[in-house]
Symmetry: C2
Subunit: 348 residues, 2 copies
Amino acid sequence: MPPKNPEKNSKSNKVSLTEVARAAGVSKMTASRVLRDEGGYSEQTRIKVMEQVDALGYLPNRLATVFAGDQSSTFIGVSIPDLGNEVFAQVLEGIDRKLGTFGYQSVLGLTQHTLQEEENWIRTVLSWQPAGLILTGRYHSARATEMLRNAGIPVVEIWDLNSSPLDMSVGINHFDSGFDMGRYLVSVGYRDIGYVGTSHDTANAATERLNGFCKAVEGAGGAVIKQLCLHDTATYYPGFYGTEQLLVSAPETECVYYQNDAMAFGGLQYCTGKGLDVPGDIGIAGWGDLPIASVMSKRLTSCHVSHLKLGQKAAEMMMARLSGEAVPNCTDIGFRLIPGSTVDNSRH
Amino acid sequence: MPPKNPEKNSKSNKVSLTEVARAAGVSKMTASRVLRDEGGYSEQTRIKVMEQVDALGYLPNRLATVFAGDQSSTFIGVSIPDLGNEVFAQVLEGIDRKLGTFGYQSVLGLTQHTLQEEENWIRTVLSWQPAGLILTGRYHSARATEMLRNAGIPVVEIWDLNSSPLDMSVGINHFDSGFDMGRYLVSVGYRDIGYVGTSHDTANAATERLNGFCKAVEGAGGAVIKQLCLHDTATYYPGFYGTEQLLVSAPETECVYYQNDAMAFGGLQYCTGKGLDVPGDIGIAGWGDLPIASVMSKRLTSCHVSHLKLGQKAAEMMMARLSGEAVPNCTDIGFRLIPGSTVDNSRH
DNA sequence: TTGAAAGCGATACCAA
DNA sequence: TTGGTATCGCTTTCAA
């Protein structure tokens, strides 16, 4: 809960347009016109006003402008599951940089992968009258969905491609990306395959990748013999110990598919540390194509997605919509399977 | 520039407190009291109002509340250089999560390490009447400093510890952390040492680490024989090719100190790829202690800083100040040198 | 327990 | 080229 302002009232030392106008000896309407560069005043008047703006250090109160109702704000609410995951940090970077070039600001919400957190954040951020919202994920609570519909502002859902979005959507088809990897791994000769990921309380993109993966593997004659969903964050160390758990309970595993590259690196390090040869003894595949891959001698088998571009595209769609342009409501930015060298493509 | 609202006026479909009050058959003051849980109304009235709130899907307009002048907003402006650098992503995560528990929101600004970007962002974000600002770095343009002083809101400068901050400061002493590493490397026997980092247009923490490092190395009888400051981002691949450049021009280098762990990993991979033994042939030291270190078999020599905690602390100081508590204006969260195994501590 | 009126800072609209 | 007045949604203050 926001506290009452401690020092009586913070506006006490803030300069308002009225004060600028008075100091310049004009009405506040004239001062307003000068500041908005609207025209319809003499050069002499303009100078008088600007002198006082500088002298008094006047900063406009944009709250009042929006409140007056003639403009929307330049806030864009942006929900992100967590920033410990590098890919989301990149998405946010893409969004915020692009928004910045249009003079808009991100109001951040970290939802920790829960719909309840997202709903709470949506309620709050809507009360600040944002110009639009960019949300990670296509699943929202019923109440959240209702609020979003009622808000009457543009919404871009990112990450999962959503063929029937609330409004607009940009991302990739995660099911397909999992499917492609499954098909690839079986095609090079793997049969007994394991999975290591994390579980969240809600359906999400990683689950869809797993679903696609299983479907492809089983359809092609392989088997996903063990699926490990840890109650942890999807980072390096869980990939490490998850691999240990997996190999203890299913030592026949020939290849492991991970929720993302960070977990895959953890798994790779576990295997290497145990003296296993990758890919000779065991294959490893991740997802996301992290920047660190650019310096690894052994290219991680993965799936490339341009996270930065995804964020930029989301911001661009938002800006286009806000300026009244027609915007396709569904944009697939695509992915690319990276064969890499952590799976053995010569098993046949 | 924010465009004029395309659809006439977005408020058209928004429900105001007045409408709720009318529907409930009470005055808007009574409805306001109910919504603020202020007391001073009958239970029957409360029910009538809340029924209409639900029925109409009323969401308060917090802009109007702040504007009315009785409260400050729950915005905290947060400036971060870039999110491609994992450590800053962690800092932001720490800030935003902690702010969230107090019902505050981060308004993000990515400054790309330039003071001009920061100044522009400060001007904009101040116009939205934030409750406070959290800024990365202790250096600001003259105009930015003036605006910050005039704003009359709490400011926390993070990252570099600032003994005479604008208002509050939390971070570490980067000079000291560089100094400690320099002293350590010489103490284990290195003499000809190189540095690989990036250059920015402004003074920054990495520069201070380098300064501290050089002072310690030279004071202890070693020499920083080559300093490479690339015009690039401080990530994996620049660490890789920067190392190549360094070793070509100064093949006698015994040990390399990097701006951060990501660059150090890049360098490590370069050396390993070239058949150099680390630390047998060359030593490698980074800064920051990235999460990936938790799964590496060879512990990277580095300097640990709790980035998440730094962010949390900054948010806590902000919240404490906003609730009127006394807050120390300078908090050192400390660092810890990690000897690791990418330098040889048995050279003597 | 309730309500009417003033006002926050800026802009639209109309009048001079 | 200027300025007065109403207005946005809400809360404070004062009155009933």
